[in-house]
Amino acid sequence: MEAFFEWFRWLYDETGINLTFVYDAYDRERMIDGFLMTIWLSLVCLFFSVIIGIVGAWLQGSPLKWTRRLVNGYIQFFRNTPPLVQLYFFYFAVGNLLPKVATDYGGEAPLLGNFAWAVISLSFFAGAFNVEIFRAGIEAVPRSTVEAASALGLTRLQTYRHVTLPLAFRVILPALNNNLVNLVKTTTLAYAIAVPEMLYVANQIWSDNVNVPEMMIFLLFAYIALVGILVWSMNRWERSLKIPGFGTS
């Protein structure tokens, strides 16, 4: 393993291609942590944004006027503002208003840290789009199917869970796919509030070593790989869910 790392040091000396995150132990550790942070942040945000999408779309169909208005207000707020502005707003404006808690080093810090705010902000951002995506899918389920379900005595929630959502899911997967891919890429914005994800770490490394082109190219490939894996698994899922008349062939 050591010889493998040293080969990259040789590569730098010989060609000037400086991949410090391979041969420098400190940079390597940072890069691995950054990579894992990106994956973790993406997974948590993916999870919550889909939950928000499902719940939001259900609430949107609510017979109560104010519930519908509230959901629409949420969608307008998060869809019409840039995600970077939202991150800044949550972290620097809302975050500082929160009650402070004692930290283990004897100081006081606001209740939620940068990772928590990144999750909240990005999940709600992607969630707003997901609500609309889910709504489109739900509206694609034939009215007669829903009526048949209620004729069989299913409640609104039961119909949603067992009839509408499973059918809608097959319609929305391509659009959801798109949005989730976007979400993974949007996690890079978290570097603005110092969440040590991949872009943040790469930025630190290229500032320390002035190897910007190498880090940029590495970043591109890392994201192509990450998003590639996501798209591939979503496509597999899409195919496995296929039923006649719904979903891609």
Partner: protein, 277 residues
């Protein structure tokens, strides 16, 4: 799976073609270009009081903008200030977005590979922290395991993290850092001592201090693009002139910075240029 592989191959080609496009091409001498254009574009800091910052009207002022203005005057052209930050200043210079960089940049060997740094150095500073007095930090090791704010792209972030074990939380600009420090998101701000001294003069920071011994006292460099030989010579003369006439000391006084040992030493060294003594 093959579809993904094909996509990756296409992306590789794309990345390579970018790398080729970015290869340097022959350029006209920058002094001629600037004179023809009538404007000298200088990259300066806009968030680094008092070296380069925005006054209440939004104009960029400070010690470095004044130096830049003198360069433009000498060339007989107008000056345009382009705000830069630590993480993009060298790239701006390489790409020709700016002709000259006077942006509080520490002169380091690996940076000299990327841009041409003019000797003699025009200024110098070391690293210290700004921290609330209540923590009572005494030595750098006291920062171990604690969150310490920094600026993205500053070289001492790595050292503070690697050697002293601090958890670096780095932001884009100083405004974000000061906000985070005040909110208690970090216990200290690791930065250039020269900037922190100026900050501590304002009453809003009266509960804060700069408690540690300054480390890494290192010279700052003015930079021009690689290969700009004539401009490089021109700037070296400008800097020698500033040191000889005591202009740097004068500007420090004007902007409320105590005269630094470096500026005094350089003045002593180059004084004979003007006075013969």
């Amino acid at each position: 799976m093959t579809r993904i592989l094909n996509a990756s191959a296409a992306a590789l080609l794309l990345a390579l073609s970018f790398a080729l496009v970015a290869a340097p091409v022959a350029r006209a001498d920058i002094i001629d270009v600037v004179k023809k254009r009538g404007v000298l574009k200088v990259g300066v800091k806009a968030d680094y009081k008092p070296y380069g910052f925005r006054d209440p009207s939004g104009k960029i002022v400070g010690i470095e903008p004044e130096l830049a203005k003198e360069v433009a005057d000498k060339l007989g052209v107008k000056v345009e200030f382009i705000p830069v930050v630590s993480s993009n200043r060298m790239q701006f210079l390489q790409q020709g977005k700016i002709d000259l960089m006077i942006a509080t940049m520490t002169d380091r060997p690996d940076r000299r590979k990327v841009v041409w740094i003019v000797t003699p150095n025009y200024y110098s500073s070391g690293t210290n922290i700004l921290a609330p007095k209540k923590f009572g930090f005494k030595k750098w090791e006291d920062l171990r395991g604690k969150p310490v704010c920094g600026i993205q792209g500053a070289f001492y972030n790595k050292k503070t993290g690697k050697e002293f074990g601090a958890k670096i939380v780095a932001f884009k600009g100083t405004a974000e850092v000061y906000n985070a420090l005040k909110a208690g998101r970090c216990v200290a701000f690791v930065y250039d001592d020269s900037a922190l001294v100026a900050q501590l003069q304002s009453p809003e920071w009266k509960d804060y201090e700069m408690p540690l011994p300054t480390i890494d006292d290192a010279p700052w460099g003015i930079a021009v693009r690689h290969g700009e030989k004539r401009f490089h010579h021109f700037m070296a003369d400008m800097i020698r002139g500033w040191h000889a006439s005591g202009r740097i000391l004068e500007l420090e006084k004007k902007w409320g910075v105590a005269n630094t040992p470096f500026a005094k030493a350089m003045h002593a060294e180059w004084r004979y240029f003007e006075t013969g003594k």
